[in-house]
Symmetry: C2
Subunit: 449 residues, 2 copies
């Protein structure tokens, strides 16, 4: 049965409203989940290890023999080594190459992204600047079960490691006691320091508040289910968090000269993640849109995840005819997609017109899947139009800055006068007097002179 992907034309009346409706995604907040999570977090905060143990036994179906205490749920370093050593050689090589490339990119990012301290001195001796320090300790949440992605371990751990975070603590549930060796090997390559086989809201609580066994961290990153997302929202403020991700998205802009099968498969590669994932193609050439539709129809039966792909493409996908490539770029800026492929000859001219996208893949050989695994840039990207104001996960998410202000005696006179004037204007007299007391002392004749 042919794929019933919606077909739009930017010249149609009502196109803007139709596009807005296709893009609309409201992250539903489930009150029952929120209540459950609030209870789990409060319990972990109060009872610590005992609560973590109770929830882990219950939700991950572990008995007292396999989970006698939280200490027993920590993996030893040699268990990670063994997971890596046990991988089939081709897979190990692929994982190691991916880790090395991701590390190289993020090392370049560290040098280019202002993760260094700096200061300057003014004529009167006043020094101003910013001191940059890595976070002390970071927690990485890794889902267990079917959505266990070793690539996510690398993408979350490596920027923290490159930033110089002192300790990286990973949590990963092992439902029924089943471990994922590829995930553990990735933890080893990502230089994770400690791994606890716990998950859910109880793991988020343990990382946020700390327990006798699990150390409190300063920031929690990584994807998770609705319970984990809710728990991260709730502990935000006590610790930092990364963005709460919505469904994954790809927007392909094509000039009509790429093999239609390549574009169809790129749309599939996003659609296979999740029925709510969104794949959209923009092209000025109606015949090319037909060709992609035909290629998609021909390729779909070959895909093991065809049910998910169909649900995603028919529910949230779109093939859109645009006036020209410039209009395609304008629409891309409105969509602000997580992933943008510019599948065209001379793609740089179009990339220049893009202001909002998590990642821009230039040229027909740059399939999104290469970026997902091993090109080097991070695959944790802003979704749901948040690329308008946020960035890929990076080294800059694992550092923070402190302002440096050292005012000279002369500076205390000139700045003091300005500060006092403005402080009085705001009705904050102690602010004014704090500056003036120093000015009075500096202006007084030196008793020793």
């Amino acid at each position: 049965m042919a794929l019933n992907i919606r077909r739009l034309d930017s010249r149609d009346a009502g196109f803007d409203a139709t596009l807005a409706a296709v893009l609309a995604f409201e992250a539903g907040e489930d009150a029952a989940i929120d209540q459950a999570v609030a209870g789990i977090l409060a319990d972990v905060k109060t009872r610590g290890d005992a609560a973590v143990l109770d929830y882990t036994r219950r939700f991950d179906r572990l008995d007292a023999q396999h989970a006698p205490n939280v200490e027993a749920l920590e993996l030893r370093a040699d268990e990670l080594d063994r997971a890596l050593d046990g991988l089939e050689p081709a897979r190990r090589h692929a994982l190691e190459t991916a880790a090395a490339r991701v590390r190289a990119f993020h090392e370049k990012q560290a040098t280019e992204s202002g993760t260094h301290s700096w200061q300057y001195t003014e004529a009167d001796g006043t020094m101003l600047g910013q001191k940059v320090t890595p976070l002390d300790r970071v927690g990485i949440y890794v889902p267990g079960g079917k959505a266990a992605y070793p690539s996510s371990v690398l993408m979350n751990a490596i920027p923290a490691s490159v930033a110089g975070v002192r300790e990286i603590v990973m949590v990963v549930p092992t439902p029924g006691g089943v471990r994922n060796d590829l995930v553990l090997a990735a933890a080893r390559l990502g230089r994770v320091d400690r791994v606890f086989t716990i998950g859910g809201a109880q793991a988020v609580g343990a990382l946020a508040y700390g327990t006798r066994t699990v150390p409190a961290v300063d920031k929690i990153v990584g994807p998770g289910n609705a319970y984990v997302a809710c728990a991260k929202r709730r502990v935000f403020g006590t610790v930092g968090i990364d963005m709460i991700a919505g469904p994954s998205e790809i927007l392909v802009i094509c000039d009509g000269t790429t093999d239609p099968r390549w574009v169809a498969m790129d749309l599939f590669s996003q659609a296979e993640h999740d029925e709510l994932a969104q794949s959209i193609l923009l092209c000025p050439d109606a015949a090319y849109l037909d060709a992609v539709q035909a290629a998609a129809d021909a390729l779909l039966p070959t895909m093991p995840r065809q049910a998910v792909i169909r649900a995603s493409l028919e529910g949230r996908g779109a093939l859109i005819q645009v006036r020209d490539m410039a209009e395609a770029c304008a629409i891309a800026n409105r969509i602000a997609p997580e992933h943008l492929e510019i599948s065209a000859a001379a793609p740089a001219q179009w990339a220049e017109q893009i202001r909002h996208a998590g990642a821009i893949f230039l040229g027909r050989f740059s399939s999104e899947s290469l970026g997902d695994y091993c090109a080097g840039p991070n695959h944790v990207l802003p979704t749901s139009r948040t690329a308008r104001f946020s960035s890929p996960l990076g080294v800059y998410d694992f550092i923070k800055r402190s302002s440096l202000i050292q005012v000279s005696e002369q500076g205390a006179m000139t700045l003091g006068r300005i500060a006092a004037e403005l402080a009085y204007g705001e009705g904050l007299q102690a602010h004014a007097r704090s500056a003036e007391l120093r000015m009075e002392t500096l202006a007084a004749p030196d008793p020793a002179a």
Copy 2:
């Protein structure tokens, strides 16, 4: 009546627990406020201008003559000019000097903080990098009434302006129709593009969703009351927001050689903000702590805001004797204060030991009040221990990054093999096929050859 500030000693049994109790601050969530805000936001989203107008008339006590429609609530550019021109010369000079210094610091910050695009090309022709773009449009919330701080206007608008944000939209309520000329003059100096005299949750909703008259922005920054803070939390995701600030804090580390009146007044300058503000002094010298207590007692009657200062210092303040300056630095890292003054000879040796603080003021002439107004660095700083993972407001908050990935034909072969291997490992076959389709074409003999 002498100030009853709690006195602690780091050698006392139970000091850690006592300090933790002194620091504890739970930002209370008020369910009634949350419900009210949810209703206002939903109404603004649905009814737009009409809802904004209704709430503004009601909450800011404006009649239909003064608020006939939302257009009439926008200030014209010449009204800002007039506010600036009408300032008393000394105050105007102070405001202009502060604006120029804040701009100069943030321009330096822009060059030092990696707000430029970058890319590099690998041996096989694959290009990787990041494109940096400013946000399109930013909203600045400015409180009206008694807590109207022109310095906050400068501190929020200038980093956005330096980052290259295309349009800066300010909202400021004018309860009873009363405008604050110093705030409007600061908007002019901060290069704010548009000003609407609206406030509360309705203004946050208008900025987040857009109305016919108020343009939708990409990020909302700036302080506000509990309704505004709640509204910002609720629209987060639709737009970016800055941190939700807790009560302001100062920690002074003193080696006992600074005029005790200066330190007492610095503690006052934080305490006068708010009864929940926190002022703490650490010093190895018990006699010096006595001297600061005596200076505080002597100075308090001279302060117009003495009631607030007393409530703050007696409720949340502390004078703490420590073993030595190194221990003071260790405690400072535990507190992770918003403002840290190192009031000591040779302060740099101690600043080196500080990992967590919003701003570090070095040396006895660097009173916090200079930083609040005119030293140059931003006065919007992380509170409530969030300096462990977040930074002062800066140019970097008004830019975002897009990854750039342009894979060469050769790169598509080598990276494709790795990506396919890992994608099969994760059970994502469309990801693998997307890479393999390109490899198959590239590996096939050229039919034209």
